[in-house]
């Protein structure tokens, strides 16, 4: 592999993912994302062009929620609750690491 084969990417802004990107990465339809936003299970921000944008955190939540709904036939609200708890778990583990306890 030559040096000119090296790919240079773009660091994404905090809230820059489009609804279609979230759907594509999660292998769900855009309607799945729309419905979860309408139900308040996923959050989006609206940019100046009135287009919905999603943070990387929301992408993480969408991926987990989709898998839980699919693998366990979980109701969307239950999948969102589990995603909330997984987020809390990640946050607490990071806290433990920061405190040098693990």
């Amino acid at each position: 592999m030559r040096d000119d084969d090296i790919l240079t990417g773009v660091i994404l802004e905090e809230a820059c993912l489009t609804l279609e990107q979230v759907a594509s990465v999660c292998s769900v339809t855009p309607d799945w994302v729309r419905l979860h936003v309408e139900e308040g299970l996923l959050s989006s921000v609206t940019d100046s062009a009135t287009e919905q944008r999603f943070t990387q955190r929301e992408l993480w939540r969408a991926r987990h929620m989709h898998r839980l709904e699919r693998d366990f036939d979980a109701a969307p609200e239950l999948a969102a609750l589990v995603a909330d708890m997984l987020e809390e778990l990640v946050r607490l583990r990071a806290h433990v690491r920061r405190a040098g306890l693990r």
């Binding site: 090296i6 660091i11 990107q21 759907a23 594509s24 990465v25 999660c26 292998s27």
Partner: protein, 322 residues
């Protein structure tokens, strides 16, 4: 290529009902869920369980697997029959994405096609007309970096499997190696987008993007929180009591001189602004002071401690008394 016994993977009998298979899958999906499982090989086992369920939950695939796998034992050398045409598009079983299909084994690819009915964007595009055209799927992958990579920038080699169209217009999985420049200042959880490096487009559709999610390996000295770095800084009792300037080695190889304020105690935190992850804006370096006592292992050291005990009249438990 080794034969895989999907029934054994899920722990069900060969005549298990669809309900029994679903129940067994859910039990194992819970056991090996990568976010909570304590099993050392949880991720690998979850992929095996996903693959087994993708086959056994789909009546068409299960029937084909039962027929072709008759007489085979797990791990036995396996070759599909010469006239075997993998073409499964019913999608009746558990839906799985191209990214998940990329994790399935060669055994699965040989039996059911490399894509094996994986879905893009929630739909099964294989069933659509020949003139169908669509953008390729955006893909997501995690990259594990060292903290030093964020300070110095780096080039990392990434191996991944992405779907692409072969000469006959069929979807295959392509093992690819990418060399990616990691820009200075990246931080945990950030994403780097590589345009056009995701799944291949369909028809004349353009390729999707590859989104790389950044994670850091645990560092032996520094702890990372977003832009900020945490470091436990050991100091001698006289440095803490009298104040002083101590050196701190940074992840980029540089060194910082930090002033310890007079009267510092263990547990006190010092913030050095702008010396965390070199992002825009840069993070801070937070130093947790830890006073370390010299051992009283020589007569001279013992004498010094005895002098302090005698002269200082220091009671460390004074505030704990009622």
């Amino acid at each position: 290529m080794d034969f895989k016994d999907y029934y054994q993977t899920l722990g069900v009998a060969r005549n298990a009902t669809a309900e029994e298979i679903k129940k067994a899958f859910r039990k194992l999906a819970r056991k090996y869920h990568p976010d909570v499982s304590k099993e050392a090989d949880a991720e690998v086992r979850m992929k095996e369980v996903n693959e087994a369920y993708a086959v056994l939950s789909d009546p068409e695939k299960r029937a084909a697997y039962d027929q072709i796998g008759q007489g085979y034992q797990p791990g036995q050398d396996f070759r599909p029959p010469p006239n075997w045409e993998p073409d499964f598009r019913s999608g009746a079983g558990r839906a799985y994405s191209q990214a998940e299909a990329a994790d399935f084994s060669d055994f699965f690819s040989q039996l059911f096609g490399q894509r094996g009915g994986a879905r893009a964007g929630g739909g099964d595009f294989q069933a659509r007309g020949a003139d169908f055209q669509a953008r390729g799927q955006d893909q997501h992958a995690e990259v594990l970096l060292d903290l030093e990579d964020s300070f110095n920038g780096a080039t990392r080699q990434i191996n991944l499997r992405v779907p692409k169209l072969d000469d006959k217009g069929r979807i295959t999985l392509d093992d690819r190696t990418l060399k990616v420049k990691i820009p200075k200042g990246v931080r945990e959880g950030q994403m780097i987008r590589l345009n056009g490096q995701g799944g291949a487009g369909y028809g004349n559709g353009e390729a999707g993007d590859l989104l790389l999610e950044i994670h850091f390996r645990p560092h032996p000295r520094f702890r990372i929180d977003g832009r900020d770095l945490y470091l436990t800084l050991p100091v001698a009792p006289w440095e803490a009591a009298l104040g002083g300037v101590v050196p701190v080695d940074l992840p980029d190889g540089g060194q910082l001189k930090v002033r310890i304020p007079e009267g510092a105690q263990s547990g006190r935190q010092l913030r050095v602004r702008g010396k965390g992850i070199p992002s825009d804006p840069p993070g801070d370096l937070l130093l947790d002071l830890q006073v370390v006592l010299p051992p009283a292992s020589t007569p001279q050291a013992r004498e010094l401690y005895e002098t302090m005990a005698r002269e200082l009249a220091f009671d460390p438990r004074a505030e704990t008394r009622t």
